[in-house]
Symmetry: C2
Subunit: 340 residues, 2 copies
DNA sequence: TTGTATGCGTTATCAT
DNA sequence: ATGATAACGCATACAA
């Protein structure tokens, strides 16, 4: 390995001078600077970032922790978009991204996320897909390494939190449906372990209440966010409530499952049943029919997370943020006025 | 920061003893071992991997380099699947993954990929989306850090190469079409800068030749793999060759663009025009009509890349591999017998 | 402007 | 079985 010593020797200067040159310090004569650069090029020296990190305590690396429920890796369009947002922003700050995927196989690991952060010495971390109460995150509140949580809230002096306005988004969805004359609105939610699910449920209830529609327990089903579980949920809801005219689905993937099963049951969308999704993933445009859905700015979630994280990294006193990004109802063809 | 010294002090042993304990070395008495572990737990010590890496020269990290053409990040389904394959395998070997995305904005950077690898001291690297001849990769042949290339071949004593059998896949696609009676088969290729495109073109030509169909220059168009450019390509081909009855598309995304435009032009698929894609991305099942396509095992590409990389990392003498994974024709509803 | 010396946290070598 | 010490490659405080 070619080190700074080799450069120093060949350029006939001290190691510290070389260090000054590669770090663009001012106090070095033009002549030696050029000579050093010349040697660097000649022997193709590349500074060892590991050694550098050990000295200055920074790795210029951000850890990305993903809670993989599916065991298939990062497949959910939401997560992929968020990651791309994260990356595009990280890029501007010249930070690297290291992936740490936690899944159930790892449950025997005794390491919490903060443990991993401390070991690997990442400058900060972004978490996606975790829950408030689980071993990975149980000690997270006291982290000294800055962390940004996406879509689930934990308090801490070094923890920020970015999410969408899930409550408001749900209200928009339900009011859209109510505006079209729907009163019996089924709700196919994600798992209640997810904070977003609880928020969306809250929105569903609030909207109904505002319009004087009674909340009915048996109009709501939980899923694990996959199309597969959604299929069963929608069938169950239909069976128990023959007069349902619309469904609000807590994600587009859930909507995909619901649509599939409804079609199999001979129901037409939106003629017989209106459907609203959540997320506005790329594919939902191409659903048959194209999906009316609540749009989240997934990329922006990633960008904002990084922006905040960078501020936290650079300023120990930076006050943690709790950010709710606005959502927007995108009306396509899966919803229509109720049949008389 | 709590270091090994703190543990040593509190446990009243030397630093070396602590080191032995945390590395599970045998030569330490059960008693002290337990005492040390006790202290470690008490003060929540986590070993500093950076320091460790500096000593033993290994980071347990693999670099992932992605050539982003779109500037939208990693959005291509092919790449996403490959990454998930990479990850699932890396996981077994307890290696971390660090992302380095190169795009055109970075073209002013003077750093090649091997430079970055040497700086960051990754144990190995996997490259996706690059070309044989560009500055990022121009010095790659002489890398001492093991590298696995996906989908483009460069020789080197520390370079392996994983790809699909693109040539064979194309032949299967074309022969399927020929078997259905098609003779005028348009080919919407990706960019010829990509090795896979050249292979697929080769397959197209070979298959035609084998069946005594003359190759026609103006039946072939290049795209940049996006649906958008594919739309124009397909229109141009149709305009110049009214008698085309089928298209072979070098990717499913290209097929998506082609289908879209053909429909807009009033052509029915497969009644008027048959379409074969390449890749078999998840969505192609849901195309209208579901796409007949050449399936690549994208996840396996990622897995194999890692397996080989790990071997290269652990054995300096390991002979680089050139692997071609088999492809498979998946027949769905976008192809049919030619109209009389 | 340049060089010397020290330390970052760890592992490994050599003693004891 | 345990401890002292050097070394990894670099940045930096201090000296010159």
């Amino acid at each position: 390995m070619v080190t700074i010593k080799d450069v120093a020797k060949k350029a006939k200067v001290s190691v510290s001078t070389v260090s000054r040159v590669i770090n663009n310090k001012p106090d070095v004569s033009k002549k030696t600077r050029e000579r050093v650069f010349q040697v660097i090029k000649e022997i193709n020296y590349q500074p060892n970032y590991i050694a550098r990190s050990l000295v200055n305590g920074k790795t210029n690396t951000v850890g990305f922790f993903y809670r993989d429920i599916t065991l298939f890796g990062i497949t959910h369009p939401f997560a992929i978009e968020v990651i791309n947002g994260i990356y595009s922003e990280l890029y501007k700050h010249n930070l690297d991204l290291t992936f740490f995927i936690k899944d159930t196989k790892l449950l025997n690991s005794t390491l919490s996320i903060t443990d991993v952060c401390r070991r690997k010495k990442v400058d900060g971390a972004i978490l996606v897909g975790f829950r408030e109460y689980e071993r990975y995150t149980e000690d997270i509140g006291s982290t000294s390494i800055p962390i940004v949580l996406i879509d689930f809230p934990i308090e801490g002096s070094r923890i920020s939190y970015v999410t969408s306005d899930n409550l408001g988004g749900s209200i928009k969805a339900i009011e859209h449906l109510i505006g079209l004359g729907h009163k019996k609105i089924g709700f196919i939610n994600g798992g209640l372990w997810a904070h977003v699910s609880r928020e969306r449920l809250k929105g569903y209830r609030q909207a109904l209440k505002k319009h004087n529609i009674a909340f009915e327990e048996n109009l709501v089903e939980e899923t694990d966010f996959t199309p597969e579980t959604a299929e069963n949920a929608v069938e169950k809801l239909i069976h128990n409530n023959r007069d349902i005219t619309a469904f609000f689905c807590a994600s587009d993937l859930i909507a995909a499952g619901a649509i599939k099963r409804l079609k199999e049951m001979g129901l037409r969308i939106p003629t017989d049943i209106s459907i609203v999704g959540f997320d506005d993933i790329e594919q939902s445009k191409s659903y048959r029919p194209p999906l009316t859905t609540v749009q989240q700015d997934k990329r922006k979630i990633g960008c904002e997370a990084v922006k905040i994280l960078v501020k936290m990294i650079n300023d120990n006193e930076y006050i943690p943020q709790r950010i709710k990004l606005p959502t927007k109802l995108v009306i396509r063809q899966s919803t229509t006025k109720i049949k008389k």
